[in-house]
């Protein structure tokens, strides 16, 4: 029985074993490559997607656990909040290499969806799981605040 997952509103019946991490299902089976592999053990956040709106590390989430749930990847975010985040990211030139940034944006979007006025401590708590080896953290913080201000 193939496992079916819903990614960005579309159903995908996967020829993959149930233990396959969602990350690799998205990348190698659904062929969406914006969601990145960084560590494979929930330590870096590069693979962050939304599962029913919750930021989720797809590298440690087996596809068997997300059947019937709404999975959103960086390619599929389109809310007002997501757009404000992406726009602030571009205006403040946050990305350097860019490899971590899908995950950063997914985590930041999830934060602002829940909390439109995050404090520095809220930002730390929501974003500390997302490593940026280029250390774009100063701008990530500023961009979250700028997006929050724009949405206010």
């Amino acid at each position: 029985m193939p496992i079916t997952i819903q990614v960005n509103g579309a159903s995908h019946a996967l020829d993959a074993t149930p233990d396959t991490p969602l990350l690799w299902a998205i990348r190698d089976h659904v062929h969406l490559t914006g969601t990145k592999f960084g560590c494979g053990m929930a330590m870096c956040g590069a693979c962050t997607v939304h599962v029913d709106g919750q930021p989720t590390r797809s590298c440690v989430t087996p596809i068997s656990a997300v059947q019937g749930k709404a999975i959103t990847t960086i390619e599929g975010i389109e809310s007002v909040v997501a757009q404000a985040i992406q726009q602030a990211w571009i205006e403040l030139e946050v990305p350097q290499c860019g490899y971590c940034q899908s995950g950063q944006i997914m985590s930041a979007t999830a934060l602002l969806e829940k909390n439109r006025q995050p404090s520095d401590a809220d930002i730390d708590a929501a974003m500390a799981g997302n490593i940026c080896r280029c250390a774009t953290y100063v701008r990530i913080r500023s961009a979250i605040k700028q997006a929050a201000a724009q949405l206010a």
Binding site: A16, K36, I90, C97, G98, Y99, S102, A135, T136, V138
Partner: protein, 728 residues
Amino acid sequence: MRRITPSQPRSHSTSRRDFLKLITTAGAGLTLAMNLPLALAAESTAAAGVDFEPNAFVRIGTDGRVTVLMKHLEMGQGTFTGLATLVAEELDADWSALVAEGAPADASRYNNLLFGTVQGTGGSTAMANSFMQMRTAGATARAMLVAAAAKLWKVPAAEIQVSQGILSHSASGKSAGFGELAELAAQQPIPDAKSLRLKDPADFAYIGQSLPRLDRGKTDGGALFTQDVQLEGMLTALVAHPPRFGASVQHYDATKALASPGVVDVVQIPSGIAVLAKDFWSAKKGRDLLDIKWDQSHAFMASSDEMLREYRALADQPGAVARADGDAVSALASATTVVEAVFEMPYLAHAPMEPMNAVVLVNDTGCEIWNGEQFQSIDQNAVASALDLKPEQVRINMLFAGGSFGRRANPQADYVLEAALIANAKRGTPVKLVWTREDDTRAGHYRPMYVHKVRAGLDASGKPIAWEQRIVGQSIMKGTAFESYSIKDGVDSTSVEGASTLPYQIPNLQVELHSVDHPVPVQWWRSVGHSHTAFSTEVIVDELARAAKQDPVDFRLQLLSQHPRHHAVLKMAAEKADWGTKLPEGWGRGVAVHESFNSFVAQVAEVSVQENGSFKVERVVCAVDCGLAINPDIIRAQIEGGIGFGLSAALLSEITLNEGQVVQSNFHDFQVLRINQMPAIEVHIMPSAEAPTGVGEPGTPPIAPAVANALSAATGQRFQRLPLKLSS
């Protein structure tokens, strides 16, 4: 779905245009040309008609698009934007028409002018070596467009104006865009470079502005990294590597791996056993099922502690002399006060967010590589020689790199060669080699471990009169193509740089080196030698200031009177940081100044120490002199990132060996800086008319000593080890 088909054999003139052909199907892959500003975007111009390609760096399409061929890797440092700025400036192009495209591997056209005949990116040289070359490329194209317009309009070339991608002649009222003139421009004679007049800096319209970056697609998942390449029929390969450096496969049994779903093949290569499967997860599960017996008879079995003892013992012995001013030994004997310390700095992994990977297809015509390609000449030659091909039969597509920090420029072409050898065993099938984070962390090619022993002396008046520094560690350059250039009289200049170039006025100064041979592979790591020499030297200078009862900034300024650029950045950083003003209880302020890669950087760090003995870096104020500032915002970004990268090493990261095995494996035990640990950062750029230098690396060296000195100010403790720890 986004897929790429490999290129057909083709001549160089068409290579860039059709070497990647996209097959897009419904769903994703919509705004590809916009999102993939690398080679992929070239397609849209190809269809438009005859392009104007006046030189190896500029192509102007009949649609007006200006494509700049990038000889340097974009790994986050902003080089695509910086190099395109130079072209756009002299071309008077419209910035919104600019597109960056990775140049092919061809050192005859794309060599790094500071690396001789080698094509590659590193040493913070991209801007420095390209500054005149890219401006000249832009000016050439402009002159030919002007000549075309003059011919078409039958007016004198001197009367034609160019601005924002439009040529115009005011007397006749004629005007035309670059695209309209492209075909005619292509027929004009290429002007002699000497006849070109480059702009006076006063007329710069783009240089010095913070133009928006060209490496787009990094906020919507569209940017294409090596990890994202998908080719028809491609297999994913994972390799089981030996558990220790110097070990090899004795025998292996792949029966279970081959029976695992999705696994297609298992091949032995010199570096281990490769499992090829339809996708990553199948390959990973297959690899876990390999039964391998390793031959460890030649394996390196030492532990870091033993090596440190060996290094410390060596530091007591005289080494090869890297610099000798005056007589440091006698001066130390006569000094009133002697400060002495032995510093220990660990191995460090680069740990870019994108672990090493490469996509390779080998077939009857040669080999094609897709890679975040940093070292074209080395990789091309290594693969050609391993596969018995001519270098030009190894085609390399340069994609974005998800960070590198030096790692993707491997002097042995390690991971690229590994991918090529696997692909060669599966000729006709494209192979994507993927390293897991564990593979990446344990593969070596580290910043070497170092011990520095420093003794420095003051005379009775508190003036430094003697400095003796011995550095012990592996040589990075030994055995590489750069060995003869970098190693002279037993001294690898990259092991001592920063110490051998100490700027302070100290009459008796001796720097010595012991290069140790160990089989742990080592490599340049963001700022190379400066990553350790800045720490030891700037901590000792602070200790000297303290011993002399002088302010650390004043003390340095007095010793830097012969070095105006060091002097100026130090002064600027101190002023901007309100040096000398009162800080809250438990806080400390520290300073460091260091030159690397011809850029001058001073940093003032403020730390707070909590009652429980933990501490936080609260704020860093930085002044940088990198010559003419091409793009101030990118300079600030690089300095911010360089500080953050240096803070990982200052506070958290180390690679250690236990009986030859690398202890760390992933981000839980090779820790790196996270957002909650990032200080506020202010970057101040020194106005300068000097030629531009680099900013990718110079932000990194001063931060560890600045933080250590701040911690000393707050606690009175001394710091001689990285990562920094407070003693309880």
